[in-house]
Symmetry: none
Subunit: 214 residues, 4 copies
DNA sequence: TATGAATGAGGCTTCATTCAT
DNA sequence: AATGAATGAAGCCTCATTCAT
């Protein structure tokens, strides 16, 4: 009953391409609107409108509100982790400082592109949504795997004798906390320049602290 | 016809005391429930139940949901600011390091007692609640004045030559970010000891960074 | 905190009385509207309007649509069963025929007053709603207990030698089926008189059948 | 340019045959799903899936949901009526009892094959679907013509002096009600044997009732 | 003609807020 | 002042139907 010339391997049907585009648009829209209006304050309809589709369409792609959010989070998080993995990979054989720099640069760049996304993450980190659903759990709404990347970086730094081993267990959290400050800092400064400008201060602060060498 | 003796000045009527107790109970309940269920996910009724009164009563004390939240935030924030002001006051004439230590200790202690509250703050920092009203903006739902305390501390440190002036503008945010890490760190560690245990690592990290002295 | 003069025993608060009245009104309205528009075609809002309350009020009394329906069914069914129990009780010591007559009379009267309700039951008997929920199961959406009443009647008839024991297992279903015909018959006749008029024919038919004595 | 030989008269095009097959499949699927999930609870998509076609295809065959239901009902009802007409026809000149037996047998057999369909009918008898449209009314969703068959049978029985004329107007409804009991009975018995087993009890009951000859 | 994604009206349900007692 | 039922706007989600491919 269903006959159809088999699709060229490696080629995507028009339909498939459309489907992916729509999904992209929805995630994009979701990221924007969730960030603008807050996770709790976002109406599904606003997202679908922003994406240029009808509500029903959104529901053809995502089971419900939560799944959309989870998918969105997972997607972006995966992107960041991928970048950080590449950083780690690319720094093999090079001095740790280079990896550290690359890590900071990559993260700040990512933050810059996804300030919105990051703000969602910060929310999610601490909020228990009405009914924290299975879906949300599954997707790991936190930063667990990003944290793992930071740990890897820190471990290497310690192993190579660049970082003090003393409180090493805390460094990943402190590193990420510092990066989080990047966003917070924006809100308390008058000249909200590009985040990448924070690279040097951050490197300096993380490695040497705020204390004056005497 | 009953006559009522005028209240002794400086004395609180029974009625007044009851009123305050109820208000306290409501704020307490609010803190708990908002923290447990998230700001967006909390139902007014849950708060009133937790406080042991009817919804209507809650509305006798607070104009609406937002005002309750704002009052709650303002209350706790004021507490912290008060403590930090005392720290600053009490350290007059003493070396900066002592003030810094006291600052850390006070903040970690406060965090410990109000992890819940702090989690609300972290949320509020980035989230726009359902209908972010003028009232909420007015009440300054953020950490602005706490940030100001941190600025004061940092300024003094710089002035006294203890802190590097180079990126001083960032230090307050970094300091607070570090403290925020205290809560985050909890979630990624197996042994979630008391936050005060983080005092030494934090002092060390803030002053000297993670880099190994060469 | 909650002080209140204890209610006179056996007396209902005004509130309690209001509450019961509202519940009554809702059930009444539910019966009407479900019957008029069909179970599937009924909008909750129509029911609440008919009852003269807001939608929200309905939800203060019943968990959801299903629970309302279940409660409604249970209520009416219980009424009928109660009546039939009384019939059985009242006929103790009297000849079976009298109980039979009373059974028919009671049922036809009930049917008359609740044609609407009965039509719902007939539906429910055969329909599997979208998600047959636990609630529905719990309430026994069928006629099980009415069927039990019929069985009791039939058993006695057989025991007393008034009914042929041959196909006795079928009689309850046949008896109820016959009564159901009462409603169906209405739709195919031009003179839809009172159902009670069907008493004699039904008695005659059940006891002697349609065949002519030869 | 292709030329197509004109279709042999009386022969069906391949296309026509395919069309009919699909239509059949859709009706079949409709019968199943409507019966399984209830008329109100059935989603068009489920039907099309069951039939192995896309939703759009279903809409190429039936104007809308209602038309499908109406067509389905009409189809099955026509089948039953046809069988009953044949029964009537075949019994010409034979004693009434034979026609009666044949009627019962035919109906029970049909019921057996279409318990599902019959359950829809029973529903339809009393339910007004979501938007009871004119179309549905038009199609006569009830049992009117089956009722007519029963009337014909009863009339003949009365005419031939086999049935008591007294309450003859009720007999058709009672006859059908009795048959409906066949399905209901299933739900209250532990041994849900084939419906045809009910033939003798039904004949006996209809003709002689449940009362014991004294 | 078949497909299945897109559409959006419409139903269900929640919950902040009001108000009569 | 306390109570808690009533209110109804507003959000979520479903699904019959359409339509471009």
């Amino acid at each position: 009953m269903k006959k159809r010339s088999p699709p060229e391997p490696g080629t995507k049907t028009l339909r498939e391409r459309l489907r992916e585009e729509t999904e992209q648009a929805l995630l994009e829209a979701g990221e924007q609107v969730f960030a603008e209006q807050g996770v709790g304050g976002t109406r599904i309809e606003d997202i679908s409108k922003r994406a240029g589709v009808a509500v029903g369409t959104l529901y053809n792609y995502f089971e419900d509100r939560e799944e959309l959010l989870a998918a969105l989070m997972a997607r972006r998080r995966a992107e960041l982790v991928k970048v950080l993995d590449e950083v780690s990979e690319g720094a093999r054989g090079k001095p740790w400082h280079e990896e550290f720099d690359a890590f900071l640069r990559a993260t700040l760049t990512f933050l810059e592109q996804h300030r919105r996304f990051f703000s969602i993450l910060v929310q999610g980190e601490m909020t228990a949504p009405r009914h924290t659903s299975a879906a949300e759990k599954r997707s790991g709404s936190g930063l667990d795997d990003v944290h793992a990347c930071a740990e890897r970086l820190v471990r290497r730094g310690v192993a190579e004798g660049v970082l003090k081993p003393e409180f090493a267990a805390l460094y990943p959290a402190l590193l990420l906390g510092m990066l989080r400050s990047a966003i917070v800092h924006d809100r308390y400064t008058d000249s909200p320049g590009p985040l990448i400008a924070l690279m040097e201060p951050f490197r300096d602060f993380f490695l040497k602290g705020a204390g004056k060498k005497r």
